[in-house]
Symmetry: C2
Subunit: 331 residues, 2 copies
């Protein structure tokens, strides 16, 4: 409808998000943290092509859907997913009422922030611990818990707030696409309630445009003070084939722009690549061992193996973090 309204007003001077914005963008560099390399040129060329009226590849506003993975794509994910640091801190907090945890794995390792030992406890034990922290609480309580944590907790080696580890070049990309009327969505394996506590403030993406892994929830009338209770039980895993499933369920349209950094994003890329409109697939490749981390095919976190091959075969854009970005972090 926005599009319809804009069309109806086409003769009128200024309507939100139209030429004035675009012109400003054209006169300055919309992606200053990107070096003047192929990836940057490809992005700008795509955006110009699909948003210029009269272009053979023009995409109507309502179909300008862009989906971004979060961990490793919009912020760092080493030495492990930041949501796991939240989990460890929460376990430590809860351990005051669970004296038995100090000798029991994986709780002991979590309380001690012993990541190496924690990772050796197996997926099932880790998963159950994550569920324990993320369930048994109301949605409102969980939101406050994450907000409090993210405002103060520091990364173990970088010693800064986790939100200071978002990538400036990607923030610029979000803003750039937004200026051209793309609707931005995060589609992440991370927890939906965990992300929504801070993503709107940090990325400017509204809660209802955040797609993630969900726990089962239930409504409780609670004697006239209704709450949503989060249960310690997985409902939907927004990873691999789950990403296009989540996109179809939450967004209802196929993306024309899709960005990720791991094999967990591959199906989302394939889905976007099947769009009838011209489309853009972008892989962030972690090549910067000095400013960030360098890892790909053999990394347990953020494995990029099949994705790297498919990107090469299909001509998707692969961002070489070390060489393509002049700045890594910042809002």
């Amino acid at each position: 409808m926005l599009f319809a309204s804009l069309m109806a007003c086409k003769q009128e001077p200024s309507v939100k998000t139209e030429p004035t914005t675009v012109q400003t963008t054209e006169n300055s560099d919309p992606l200053p943290s990107w070096n003047d390399v192929a990836s940057k040129k490809a992005i700008i060329s795509f955006v110009k092509d699909v948003t210029t009226e009269g272009s053979a590849n023009f995409i109507p506003v309502e179909d300008r859907i862009a989906t971004f993975d979060n961990d490793g794509t919009l912020w760092s994910e080493q030495p492990t997913y930041f949501q796991l640091f939240f989990t460890m801190d929460r376990i430590k907090q809860l351990s005051a009422n669970h004296p038995e945890w100090k000798d029991k794995q994986p709780y002991k390792a979590a309380i001690e922030h012993d990541l190496k030992t924690l990772m050796q406890q197996g997926d099932k034990a880790l998963f159950d611990m994550v569920m324990e922290v993320h369930g048994n609480v109301t949605a409102e309580e969980f939101d406050k818990m994450v907000k409090d944590w993210i405002a103060t907790a520091k990364h173990p080696t970088k010693d800064v707030l986790f939100t200071d580890l978002t990538y400036k070049p990607m923030q610029e990309l979000l803003d750039y696409l937004k200026a051209y009327d793309f609707k931005l969505f995060i589609v992440s394996g991370g927890g939906i309630e965990f992300m929504r506590a801070w993503t709107e403030g940090v990325y400017g993406i509204p809660d209802n445009q955040i797609v993630g892994t969900t726990n089962k929830t239930e409504f409780d009338y609670n004697d006239g003070n209704p709450v949503i209770r989060i249960l310690p039980e997985l409902e939907f895993m927004d990873d691999k084939g789950g990403k296009p499933v989540g996109i179809n369920k939450f967004i209802g349209r196929k993306p024309v722009f899709s960005a990720g950094n791991s094999d967990g994003d591959l199906q989302m890329m394939q889905y976007a690549a099947s769009n009838k409109y011209k489309n853009f697939e972008l892989y962030v490749h972690h090549t910067d061992s000095v400013r960030e981390w360098a890892y790909d095919r053999n990394s347990p976190i953020g494995t990029l193996n099949k994705g790297l091959d498919e990107a090469a075969a299909k001509g998707w854009t692969v961002v070489d973090m070390k060489n393509d970005w002049n700045t890594v972090y910042g809002n």
Copy 2:
């Protein structure tokens, strides 16, 4: 939608949804299909109060979440939910390949459009038939199927397109709230894929703001032509306690404005009523046996019993369709 378009174009130098728009609204009647009665006055008074800067009840734009039920709230639902007419027509279409259906219930009744017999077949048989029609198909195929149907199928007694049975006063209300920067969502027991095939065109609400009942789906790489397959299996029922659950999952924020017409909407109303901000709950009461239908406490479709009592007890706004609306249908 015409209303929103006019608003966007009327002012110079028009910026969508800004103060200029608000002034335009003040100078004309934003709800012309509503008689000058208490319900209309209450709506306008609420919207003015919560959107005027400096008001004690001011609600920031990002929290102006409005949720609307669909069946019986935005369009009619008699003699049964319109999605069931789609189901019957689809069964009739499929019956060419199922000669055994013509003697087997509930298929026989569906093929014959014998609603009375159909309703006697029990919930389980009906549910299985609905699943049969809504599953076993790709999301893209299903979308096309519904689009084709809704463009041509006629209501059995009104003899007009089903989309001609949307309520003009409610369309005006959607446009009015949108002009004041409310973000509109449909939260319906209807199928999410069924609605998304036509709701954006009819209500101007984007696909990712449509919350409904979902089937399980899966991603199929399909030899390089990826598709989402809809399975004939229920995933989530967006009704009663499922409505606040769906709101929390898809929207992530509590509504400040909520509209429904049945007991299936009661939990959504209770949830909105618990908002820390001033909030508005609206029940459409079907009282017009001439222009629409008259039913409430004892109707098998759209039962409004507990909701009517709770609305009276809590002072929620109940719209008397016969007396409050000077026009019922229209876009």
